[in-house]
Symmetry: C2
Subunit: 318 residues, 2 copies
Amino acid sequence: MNGRIAILGAGAIGLYYGARLALAGRDVSFLARSDLTAIRERGITLTVEGREDVLKPAAVFARAEDIGPVDLVILTLKATANAELAHLLPPLLGPATRVLTLQNGLGSEDTVARWVDRDRILGGLCYIACMRLAPAEVTCLHAGSIALGEADGPARERTRELAASFESAGVACRVVDDLVAARWRKLIWNVPFNGLSIAAGAVTTDVLCADPALRGEVQALMREVQAAARQLGIDIPDDVLRKQYDVTPPMGPYRPSSLVDFLAGRPLEIEAIWGEPLRRAQAAGAAMPRLALLYALLRRIDADRTRAAAQASAASAS
Amino acid sequence: MNGRIAILGAGAIGLYYGARLALAGRDVSFLARSDLTAIRERGITLTVEGREDVLKPAAVFARAEDIGPVDLVILTLKATANAELAHLLPPLLGPATRVLTLQNGLGSEDTVARWVDRDRILGGLCYIACMRLAPAEVTCLHAGSIALGEADGPARERTRELAASFESAGVACRVVDDLVAARWRKLIWNVPFNGLSIAAGAVTTDVLCADPALRGEVQALMREVQAAARQLGIDIPDDVLRKQYDVTPPMGPYRPSSLVDFLAGRPLEIEAIWGEPLRRAQAAGAAMPRLALLYALLRRIDADRTRAAAQASAASAS
């Protein structure tokens, strides 16, 4: 896939993949807000397992209008910022623009479809552990891979071409024939670990694995997600659950992305990771009692915190 | 029931019922630790709906040995302090001593039975809203009632005599023929409201009732407790669930006793209120998925807080 690329959302994921593609010679424009000045002055620095790469200069813009229509939008905003898509996305769209959403959880393709034909939407799952430790600086603990698929239907020639673009930029990338199924598979890990790490009082994954009662709940939540997926016609073998659990204890005191957001005072992707799967399961007649409880708790914890942060910000502004 | 009474545990509940009985002319000895000096100097003050009663002098002791064997022990320690029963209870026991435990949740009678014949054990459920706002001072928002029963079997003559003693001391008291069933009925309220008020981020009951997702979880937890009780041969009609829910919104921003403990930094009665019901249900083949998740979260939240408190205390001592 050639042509212009816009990165919509300059957090860790957007900066990382965008800089990788630009360093490989792609024409990449970044839309940034808080990191704008830092990126202009210093470019983007990627540190992966001790190796440092710097993209400088980086084409960075404050307004989508200054980028204009591109061939591919890579959507890396947090789902909690989706209300802003209404003004950020349209200026980037031409009649043939494709949108690749790398947002977590379920529902992102449907959100994008408010502005773009479903036939032009792709989705990707990022298996990566990276953090933006300072403006314009991303550190990657585990570069992992992307699983790419079409919003509807199996992988096509264009899906494979896009995957090849990522591969030639040094990003491991595979295609999947059922994106929704791939998203449910990823939820097998995200639902329990992202959720319980917050609800149990801001603990890392090693704590969840070491506590017998919490470990049991991790595994029970995995089975709830598996059963709900099955009700939706998606088979996730037991072996996948076992592997997803087994990779976790060796990760040590790992902070799932939602816990990182929580500790940084950012809103949580409640609906994408817990709310939407619950609603789809219930609509299909699958009870998810543990997820229902977890979702209700996280919603309240998030709302209280967001309100407290807004009050603190209003107080410091007055 | 005549004779000497010892109050084991001088928190709000112990001070309230002990002082009521003493003010009615009963021979009541209090075992106290933190409140000892205050009770010696000022007696015990009860404030109930604006009316104040003072018991002065109050017979208060620092060691169970200084009280010696009594006719009735009223156990009002928090269940979290039950490890201390091994040295606090035996000095109070003669060959015919009865023990009335007013502890919350399930399992208290079984704990007491390590030192006392089951035939000499009674239990009571306190429907009361009272707080110890200062040493030796109890304020009661709602004096409520006690439900009294035998550890094993239906109410007897002695059960009714004890209830009459409370009644003549101004404490509404009824007898029940199945104490375990009465304890499960009380859990219909305590399991969801005490638990979710903490797990949802320290919120009062009005918040739980006003949030649609949390309200749904309150009611779903009530049904889990009902189903588990049914599996154990205890029928709790739907009407009871509806009433227990319906009394709650009018209570306004109420703090369940566990939330009061939580906010005061005291350990929670995790096993009595959530752990023991879960284990009994599971042993009877009843799945309680929501309770299992809630229990695992509360255990961890409580352990972390208790550890933090111990570290703070060790740091301030060093």
